[in-house]
Amino acid sequence: MNVMQLKPSDFETDQEVRWCPGCGDYAILKVVKSVLADIGRSPDEIVFVAGIGCAARFPYYLSTYGFHTIHGRAAAVATGVKLANPNLDVWVVGGDGDFLSIGGNHTLHALRRNIDLNLLLFNNAIYGLTKGQYSPTSPVGTRSPSTPNGSVEQPVNAARFALGAGAKFVARGADTLQTHLPEVLKRAHGYKGASFVEILQNCIVYHDGAFGAINDRSKSQNVTVRLEHGKPMVFGKDNDKGLVFNEQTGAFEVAEIASLNSDAEVAVHEETNIDHAFALAQLEQPGFPVPLGVIYAEETPHFTEARGFTGTKGDWDRETLKAIL
């Protein structure tokens, strides 16, 4: 791969961006452009595939190759792109409807097969494009046009779903965390296999403030824990709190660092520890800080590599065919 000198503006298209003013998608688009510029891969070798929804308009706003497909099927289409040409850098963008409702099956299988895709789930816990119905990630009690008395369904936890599906790279970021999110996306891009990133994204029109203080830059430190491999999991305004792993329950607990006998009691984040990954993915507000960063990452051969697919050209010719017949 040739690394090119690129600027975020090199990824702009002539299309007018049509999201609502104040939509979290703008912030994500900005981050993605700067990450792509930093990665330095030619826009001609990058493909963005999307399904249907607000997030799925993403490909129109990037000067890479782009395919705006049908609802829920982006991961399946992107899988086909990789089968045909594993050399391409393929990103899949979708919302909670695309990834976890109509297309939940394809998310599951793209992850389990470990197709070399960067899967970005823009989770706003609502259906925006169809005007505000509750989504599979909406909390219990969400009032929406289709649940006027509040939803009763248990929401799906995207990171836990991904880990359950057998994903080998699971991370989480938030739209407004403009210094944190780029690092998460670069890690995701660097991972060879299916990298799953949940981006908590605010829908200003239908679900404003859905993630509370998480994506409020001034308060985020109190309600999130930033994961760094090999570093203790501390959080709070002055890093005064930490996560302690209870071996008996297999769960993390929150502790005031001052009350601990030793700083060593704070758990150190190990990206390759699947038990910790499940326990981290479990942590939700209120009561626990929401883990942001790379929750789990384990190197393993990805699909097209394991199948031995390379390039686009075929090796067969008439003589091959005669031999087959």
Binding site: I46, H109, R318
Partner: protein
């Protein structure tokens, strides 16, 4: 019943080729294996033939039950053979259930070979029989050979000291040996195959060969002179190298040809479904050239195939009716973004799960019309196993030249029917060309069009300087930008339809398969009914009738010349394994009173039934 051959004194009618043999027994009896070995030996005898496996959907139904019966039919002759035959000259029945369900397929005066082992109280009860048909006069109109096949097989294998159960497994080869004796066939073809198949377990090969020889010797020993009149038809029809091929195998080779002639790997994505899965199995054996992908569902299969096409390969997906229903939205996306894609539908009896192993041609209108919005696409249908090879190459060329999904309609009969196949001259097949686009990055417009074909340029990701975006939202003609402009949508809809319609200009005009240009009746068929219609028309015209046969391989758009034929003939009738789908298309397209001969029994047409219908209609049109 005495354990001797019983030859009834039914009239020993003069037998002339073609001959039809039908094997029937439990799914676990090795019926398909015995049948396909018989077919190989037929090919070695230089006879032309066609086979039809007629098996149940159940994986392995309880032994001896009516619904567990599996059958295999083969017709062979010195002349060209177009169908597996209507009724059998020889029926082999391994148990009462097989006899009960298959006796209807035996010609009057035909020969029944029955394994009497299971014609006891228990076996009869499983077949829901009150009395033993071997004894109650049911078979008076037939010639009958009975033998205690299981006992004789066990006796024959006694020197090998196998267990009873293991020895019994060879009973299909015992019967095959007897049938070989009947037709004066050498045992060598099957012997060679067994030795090679069970190279690592020679004791299995030995047991089966020993059983086959015992069956053969049984025919020799027992007095069967009244029956030994099956003159083997021997004429070398094919000069070139040939092999036995089913429609599915031919399709697999056709897909391999796409890879070889296009010099680019094909991406084949599918989800298992009867009767299309066999194609996935056939292709998965290739470790290069064809990239197979077993998707999580039908939608993922077509979506991945479309993604592969987007990335510059030919994406192919195959399914049967229920799967095609699920794929329709993604096929519509293919129409909207104008990408090549091949969708194979191996049709089966519907609706819903219907009859998964039985043929029907009832997906025609779904293939042509079954998408939301105005979404026309080419629909092709091979008529014979041989054409299954060629149609895949044509489908690839058509998909590329029109930048459109193409649907290929096969069916459960065509997929499984096997016949002798003359190997094609590979050097004579032109390359599959990948279009080159000349516009440079600045001038490149993804929805500009070739003035002749109206196809848009196919520019895959990775092409330098051409990065662009496509999608299911309506696109501005030329630039491809999102457009909700009313006039643009009108124009794009017209262009997408005109692009498909223009295929008819490039296809050659239809020609009659058989019969006079000014006959009394025009019979129109499509797909796998070719053999039965062709045979019926051939036989009738030899008797002085004036019936003509038109067979369509192109269902959408309709090729040139159909209208003229409909105008020329006093009467036209389609023969279809549905309730008249092509018929109503022809009526609405040409405003002609086309009639329909419809059959939806899950079985292919019988030549005799078609002859009767054709005569009736041609006589009515004369009066």
């Amino acid at each position: 019943m005495a354990d001797t051959a019983v030859v009834s004194d039914a009239p020993d009618s003069a037998r002339t080729p073609p001959l039809v043999v039908r094997f029937a027994g439990d799914s676990g009896d090795g019926i398909q294996l015995a049948g396909s070995e018989f077919a190989k030996s037929t090919a070695d005898a230089k006879s032309d033939f066609m086979t039809f496996p007629d098996y149940p959907a159940e994986i392995r139904a309880p032994a001896g039950t009516l619904f567990g019966v599996s059958a295999y039919q083969i017709q062979f002759a010195s002349d060209e053979v177009l169908t597996p035959g209507d009724k059998a000259d020889v029926l082999v029945a391994f148990n009462p259930a097989a006899l009960t369900t298959n006796l209807q397929h035996l010609k009057p005066g035909g020969l029944l070979i029955a394994d009497e082992t299971h014609f006891d109280a228990r076996g009869l009860k499983k077949a829901k029989l009150e009395a033993n048909p071997l004894e109650d006069g049911t078979l008076d109109a037939f010639q009958v050979i009975t033998a205690d096949v299981v006992k004789r097989t066990i006796e024959a294998l006694a020197p090998l000291e196998l267990g009873r159960k293991q020895a019994t497994r060879a009973k299909n080869f015992w019967v095959l040996g007897l049938v070989y004796w009947l037709f004066g066939r050498p045992l060598s073809t099957t012997e060679d195959w067994l030795n090679s198949k069970f190279r690592k377990t020679p004791e299995v090969a030995d047991a089966n060969i020993m059983a086959m020889k015992a069956g053969h010797a049984y025919g020799e020993t027992v007095e069967l002179s009244a029956i030994r009149d099956f003159a083997e038809p021997r004429i070398a029809k094919h000069k070139a190298a040939s092999r036995i091929i089913s429609g599915t195998q031919a399709m697999a080779y056709g897909i391999a040809a796409i890879s070889a002639l296009g010099k680019r790997d094909v991406v084949y994505c599918s989800y298992p479904i009867t009767p299309a899965s066999v194609l996935l199995h056939a292709l998965a054996r290739f470790d290069a050239g064809i990239r197979t992908f077993q998707a999580e569902d039908e939608i993922a299969a077509v979506s991945a195939a479309l993604g592969a096409s987007y990335a510059g390969s030919i994406g192919i997906t195959a399914s049967s009716g229920p799967g095609l229903s699920l794929k329709t939205e993604a096929i519509g996306l293919g129409v909207a973004v104008e990408l090549p894609l091949i969708v194979i539908d191996v049709q089966r009896g519907g609706p819903s799960t219907g009859m998964p192993t039985k043929p029907e041609q009832s997906d025609l209108t779904m293939a042509i019309y079954g998408r939301h919005g105005e979404a026309p696409l080419p629909v092709l249908a091979p008529a014979t196993p041989d054409e299954c090879f060629w149609i895949m190459i044509e489908a690839a060329r058509t998909a590329i030249q029109t930048m459109s999904p193409v649907i290929v309609l096969s069916d459960a009969y065509l997929a499984n029917a096997a016949s002798d196949w003359e190997l094609p001259d590979i050097d004579a097949i032109p390359d599959i060309d990948w279009p080159e686009h000349k516009a440079n990055g600045e001038d490149f417009e993804p929805f500009s069009r070739d003035p002749e074909t109206l196809a848009r340029p196919w520019v895959a990701p990775g092409t330098p300087g051409h990065a662009h975006r496509i999608g299911g939202i309506e696109k501005s003609s030329g630039s491809g930008h999102i457009s909700y402009d009313p006039d643009n949508h009108q124009e794009m809809t017209r262009l997408r339809a005109e692009k498909i319609r223009r295929l008819a200009d490039r296809w050659s005009e239809v020609k009659l398969e058989d019969g006079p240009d000014d006959g009394d009746l025009l019979v129109i068929g499509w797909g796998s009914t070719y053999g039965a219609i062709a045979q019926a028309v051939k036989e009738l015209n030899a008797d002085g009738k004036r019936i003509s046969h038109l067979h369509l391989r192109h269902l959408n758009p309709l090729p040139r010349g159909v209208k003229e034929l409909l105008e020329r003939f006093p009467r036209a009738v389609t023969a279809e394994l549905n309730t008249g789908q092509l018929c109503s298309i022809l009526r609405s397209e040409f405003l002609k009173p086309v009639e329909c001969i419809s059959q939806v029994t899950g079985q292919p047409f019988h030549v005799s039934d078609l002859k009767e219908e054709f005569v009736k209609r041609s006589e009515a049109s004369q009066s």
